[in-house]
């Protein structure tokens, strides 16, 4: 009798148990395989190009360029332009060749843009602004000016680039 009861109980619980098991396997199959396949094209590791430090801009600001037959660093030259805006054209003439030396992807239209803003108004802008593509690898530093204002210095690459192309520019 016990065996018989046990057998009946087994049949009673077997069908709902199998249905539940099937549901669990289907749900987990969707999570592991269908969702996994859908996400297989999104990179699991953040591309190197996303890890941007300000070192490029920092190096640019402490590079020496010519000013009245002597060398001063770019940050000091910006201070001079801030005090005396007439110096801006000379600054651009001396600074632009240095900006051109920054490595960029081998594309026909890509350009590094260097901007200095004071009170959110562009004070200095160097680089080929005619390139109308997206901004990449943006770096930003705030430096105090002698007038007491904060100068916001930005450097970014304008190009129509893929992550692979940007990956070569550290």
């Amino acid at each position: 009798m016990l065996n018989k009861k046990g057998d009946i109980g087994y049949i009673i619980y077997l069908v709902p148990g199998l249905i539940l098991l099937t549901i669990v396997i289907i749900v987990f199959s969707i999570i592991f395989f269908v969702v996994g396949f859908a996400n297989s094209h999104t990179p699991q590791v953040t591309p190197g190009a996303s890890y941007v430090s300000n070192i490029k801009l920092f190096n640019l600001l402490r590079s020496d360029i010519s000013y009245k037959e002597k060398n001063i660093n770019v940050a000091d030259y910006i201070m001079i332009v801030d005090i005396n805006p007439v110096e801006k054209d000379d600054f651009l003439k001396n600074f632009s060749p240095l900006l051109e030396k920054l490595p960029k992807p081998n594309l026909y239209s890509s350009s590094w843009i260097f901007e200095v803003r004071k009170n959110n108004i562009i004070m200095i802008s160097a680089g080929d602004n005619s390139v109308s593509e997206s901004k990449y690898l943006e770096q930003e530093i705030n430096i105090p000016s002698e007038s007491g204002d904060i100068l916001n210095v930005r450097l970014f690459l304008k190009c129509y680039c893929t992550n692979e192309e940007l990956g070569g520019i550290a």
């Binding site: 395989f33 402490r62 520019i169």
Partner: protein, 160 residues
């Protein structure tokens, strides 16, 4: 007798059903584990970035330093040596070479630390066993106590 015949009726199917359920679950777990273990996570890019960051930020690597402190981003050409690079950053399954160029693109110094993988750099392109990349960054380098603008060029190879 009834209960015995009942047992006979259910013993064989019950064994098969239990085994089938266990088998299906085992196969499911095996497939999930197999997929997870064999998943190919591309980490070359982050490895290459890690090499560059170490070279430019670590005092043990190429960073110029004097009695006042260290200057990340400024390369000391005297530190660019095979021995220094090996002690600075080495990892199994990874190789790299470092070159420093002046602003005009002329090579100032190039070092191959001769890691095991470095011998495969020339044949890396088109070889499915390896992944290679080249990274460039704008740096300043010290020469005769003066700093000059330049480019650091790092070629990195990892196993695919």
């Amino acid at each position: 007798m009834l209960s015995k015949s009942g047992n006979l009726a259910f013993d064989a199917p019950r064994w098969i059903i239990d085994f089938s359920i266990t088998f299906v679950l085992a196969i499911f777990i095996f497939i999930v584990l197999f997929n997870f273990i064999n998943e190919n996570i591309p980490i070359h890019d982050i490895e290459a970035d890690n090499v560059m960051k170490n070279l430019l930020y670590s005092d043990y690597c190429l960073v110029y330093s004097d009695e006042f402190g260290s200057y990340p981003g400024i390369v000391d050409l005297n530190k660019l040596s095979k021995e220094n690079l090996i002690s600075c950053f080495a990892k199994d399954g990874l190789g790299y070479t470092v070159s420093v160029l002046d602003a005009e693109g002329n090579e100032l110094k190039s070092i191959d630390p001769e890691f095991n993988y470095n011998m495969f750099i020339p044949i890396c392109k088109g070889n499915k066993d390896f992944v290679c990349s080249e990274k460039k960054d704008f740096v300043l380098y010290m020469k005769d106590g003066k700093k000059y603008p330049g480019i650091i060029n790092v070629e990195v190879i990892t196993h695919a």
